[in-house]
Symmetry: C2
Subunit: 366 residues, 2 copies
């Protein structure tokens, strides 16, 4: 029942193990990695309450000496200050270079744990046990780690690869439904940018809005295909020099919306869903793909109960201005990822403000 995806990068490689109902075996999966004895588990109180004991027992049984440190849930704690606390705990337990930080949680915990692992003693081992759909199909792979700057998301960070990503999809049963849907936005993204089969598999499901409404075997496949899509792209371009940018489909507008709404009104997945709707319509305007296809995409967004429009108190000029601060800006030009077919996108370097504004206005009045 379990799938293993090999991730081979120029100077490292690791496995993604997708194995339903086997969280209590996670320790066994670590024994072959030649890690040191000490593991520091980083989690948040909610996730730790559900799964902390299972994970810690499993690690103990596999012979590890386990410590843990909890960081309150939420993006507001994704700060250098939280990392500084992880350093203090790492020092207290005298972690060595061979020791391991294990992230048990969603994207925020994973990003922070990875950054702490990347920067403690100039890099110690890092293992991801993602517990949100977003983290499973996106944040836990690809090596992007980091924290927010008070004035911008993920501005502080490092590229750092995990030694293992261990996914038990059954932990999604305790995930708040809004977060489940947010993860589904990234799944839909992989269908649009990379995997036509995945897209069609999603079209075949009646609903994509909660774990209960999706057959469990289908869910495992969706996760596996999404991970594979991400790995395919990242393996070709670890440091985001070229093709990796396509993973930002929906994110250009998405990040701007998250930032302008103070990271509180809409979550990352919702922002990406709106961003995909915008990108789809820009592509139609530019004659790059067809109205019918953007409708198929927007139908999936609806089936996942995700938004494709946004609060019209936001003004288009504000959004355009916010795009300038994005890491993906190159010499002042705004880069967009635009679809050309189901399963295919192109990177366009300089989209005119006029086209962007027209589409933003269309979406608002919907």
């Amino acid at each position: 029942m379990s799938s293993i995806i090999d991730v081979t990068l120029p100077h490292t490689s690791y496995n993604i193990v997708i194995s339903p109902n086997t969280l209590e075996d996670v320790g066994n999966h670590l024994t072959s990695l030649q890690l040191g004895k000490k593991i520091l588990v980083i989690s948040n109180p909610e996730v730790f309450n559900h799964y902390g004991e299972t994970v810690i027992n499993s690690l103990n049984k596999a012979g590890f000496k386990v410590f843990y440190h909890l960081i309150p849930a939420g993006e507001t704690y994704k700060t250098l200050e939280s990392i500084s606390q992880v350093y203090d705990v790492a020092l207290k337990h005298r972690l060595e270079r061979s020791s391991t930080l294990l992230a048990l949680g969603g994207g925020v915990i994973g990003d922070m744990t990875g950054f702490a692992a990347a920067t403690w003693l100039r890099g110690i081992n890092f293992v991801q046990v993602p517990t949100s759909l977003l983290a499973m199909v996106d944040a836990s792979m690809g090596g992007k780690t980091g924290v927010n700057h008070p004035q911008g998301k993920n501005l502080i960070g490092a590229f750092y690869q995990p030694r293992l990503v261990f996914i038990d999809p059954m932990v999604l049963k305790t995930l708040p439904i809004r977060e489940f849907r947010a993860g589904m936005a990234e799944v839909i993204k992989y269908g649009v940018i990379w995997d036509q089969d995945l897209f069609q598999q999603l079209e075949a499901e009646k609903k994509l809005d909660s774990l209960e409404n999706i057959d469990l075997e289908v869910m495992d496949k969706i996760i596996t295909k999404s991970c594979q899509a991400k790995v395919d792209v990242v393996s070709q371009d670890e440091k985001e020099a070229g093709i990796r940018a396509i993973l930002n489909y929906g994110h250009t507008i998405g990040h701007a919306l998250e930032s302008l709404t103070g990271y509180s009104q809409i979550n990352h997945g919702e922002a990406v869903a709106i961003g995909m709707a915008v990108a789809g319509k820009i592509a139609v305007k530019l004659g790059m793909w067809q109205e019918g296809k953007t409708e198929r995409q927007d139908n999936l967004i609806k089936k996942a109960a995700l938004p494709s429009t946004f609060d019209n108190k936001l003004k288009s000029p504000e959004i355009l201005d916010s795009l300038q601060l994005d890491k993906k800006v190159k010499a002042g030009k705004v880069r967009f990822i635009l679809p050309t077919d189901i399963g295919q996108v192109e990177i366009r370097e300089s989209i005119s403000s006029e086209v962007i504004t027209t589409v933003l206005e269309e979406i608002k009045i919907k």
Copy 2:
């Protein structure tokens, strides 16, 4: 007159340019690196007072848009807080992924600038213009970047390589003499661990205690040979998995002494000098090399006006305990780098406390 050392690592390469009296040309050396327009120079007030204008004029002339940020001199400012301030300045000037952080200063400035470059936007360009002998022959190469934790030196950091190291040995004329000598400790180290010719060249000089007492062409050669030694070792082992550890010759005891004296009484080079004297004597005790060779080493240390003994208020047990916190500890065993010949060392994993104590006591009563 200028030398260029090619540094070729598994996934990056860069040049070390050693070019006397050419600081005003540094901008030209950057034009071929395809850097973005923006450069943020990080320095300290003392160094910037001497060389800031020259460097900034040179960068402007080469077409760059230059900003600068000063951090007070000294190890006490080598903190996450200082890095956080660099982030704020980087944000203020909207540095992009193609932008560059340029370190103009000694090891502290270089380490911090490198760490900020490694972690801003998950990695931007980094250029080193070292102004201390220690930074020229050691800290500026090899990719070790980072800051101190309140309870330990360099515990927070990353491996991150510069795009260029530009060395003008003439800037050493404004270096405080005690710092010059500290750098000479690392030069002597390269002679012992790697380069017999360098060792003999140092033996041929009457004095090694100040720039005025050394012929300038010899000084250029000494710097070039030292850089080459470091590069030879680092190229074989970027991430300190094996042979790179030999660069820690003299550092095992050295770090303990620095830490126990609060990083204020003795500087890094002085600590390394004492550490080499200790390591030499341990090697003699173990029959690994000869009394005569340890004397030749200690003579160079004396010629550089560096210490080979230490304040006897420190107790050997304290020193032994302090060794346990070092990053180089593996599963509790203290690792020593010990010489077997001039230009040759071996890594020994578990040196007994008895031998260490005997030598520490010998050195103290000297």
